[in-house]
Symmetry: C2
Subunit: 225 residues, 2 copies
């Protein structure tokens, strides 16, 4: 069976939530690959508006976009991201994981993205995970991503490469990357990161908002003074 990537910069599939990180990755991919396809997962998350953001950004940039329903995550786990009767922690708990955690969520996304990518003849999957922004999600770490590349490649006898352009960047550096890609305003205005589903600057209170807004402040201080 053939195990080479004929065209490493051919088609890339971007796992696109509609938030700052994955949208920055989308624009990074557009600069680098011949064809880019965005996929978003609808797993019954509260901030479903994120997917609308993803869809609109792809439409405006003439990027093929697919929304894949994945209710399995809601079936398997009980947590604040998918159940409307639980409040999202406003502070990250001192011990353990924030209650927005869905165990193995990112792995499942990558698994489905890979099945989809093979259907499309793509070898590259791009995800906006970051070791810096680890927050306790083990399936966002470098060592997991490297292991997952091997598992996916063996599972389908088809070479997969998982690109993580943000792996070692902090949030201010992610803002700077957007600036370098010429899409700072697009990211600022058209993406949602907020766990409570509020666009742009967000609720300002959830962990995701704090990280995003503090990162932006640091970006202005360090790169724009």
């Amino acid at each position: 069976m053939e195990m080479t990537i004929k065209d490493p910069l051919g088609t890339a599939v971007v796992v696109l939530s509609g938030g700052q990180d994955s949208t920055t990755c989308l624009f990074w991919a557009i600069k680098k690959y011949k064809k880019v396809i965005g996929i978003s997962f609808d797993y019954g998350q509260k901030h479903i508006k994120e997917i609308e953001c993803a869809k609109n950004i792809c439409l405006e940039n003439n990027i093929e976009h697919h929304i894949i329903e994945l209710p399995i995550l809601n079936t398997l786990t009980e947590n604040s991201l998918t159940r409307i009767d639980i409040d999202v922690d406003s502070e990250k708990p001192k011990e353990g994981l924030p209650n927005s955690f869905v165990d193995g969520r990112n792995m499942l996304f990558l698994n489905v993205a890979a099945i989809f990518a093979k259907q499309k003849g793509a070898h590259t999957i791009i995800t906006g995970v970051s070791q810096t922004d680890f927050s306790g999600y083990p399936d966002c770490r470098y060592e997991f991503i490297k292991s997952m590349e091997v598992s996916l490649t063996l599972a389908m006898d088809y070479p997969f490469s998982i690109k993580t352009p943000l792996m070692w960047l902090d949030k201010s550096q992610v803002w700077n990357l957007a600036d370098e890609l010429g899409v700072l305003d697009v990211i600022r205005e058209k993406t949602i990161t907020c766990y409570n589903g509020i666009k742009g600057e967000g609720c300002g209170k959830c962990p995701a908002c704090k990280l995003r807004n503090e990162g932006y402040k640091k970006f202005l201080q360090e790169y724009k003074k």
Copy 2:
């Protein structure tokens, strides 16, 4: 974070299709683990009767059983197992994979089974894959299973062990294992392996039936003469 399995023979989750192989694994697990939980995936397969078999076998043996809906496989791939307008190949094609192939199906099952297992406090996942009965499914191979154990463990910071009691057995040896476990008649009468959904001896024509029936003949010749 703790990364040890306190009770390796505590709870095991068996991926249970209701066919010969996975049902034999179920009985193997019952002998070995304190608690066994069966999970079956409903992904819109034609032979949905398999799941009924799985359910009944668990009921009769007082085993906790869960049916998990996974329509994503039907969404992502077009093939003869899930679409009623395509006939299953009666002969295995000389080149390539049989048209019942769903790329990455087994990997996705293991991924979801692991998320489920962690919810249940189980570290062990049991699957009836076999390298001998490879049939071109790369995610049934030993090297994939070993890699997947690592990926799952890293993904959830939680040690997973994937047990594959049938990995190096041919079909006659699987029949012999059932015999040794004292469940030969249960497996013969109450499981479905047939791609066309016919219980027991099946249609006799699809690749799964041929493998099962030839294996049984060989078992009788080699172990029962």
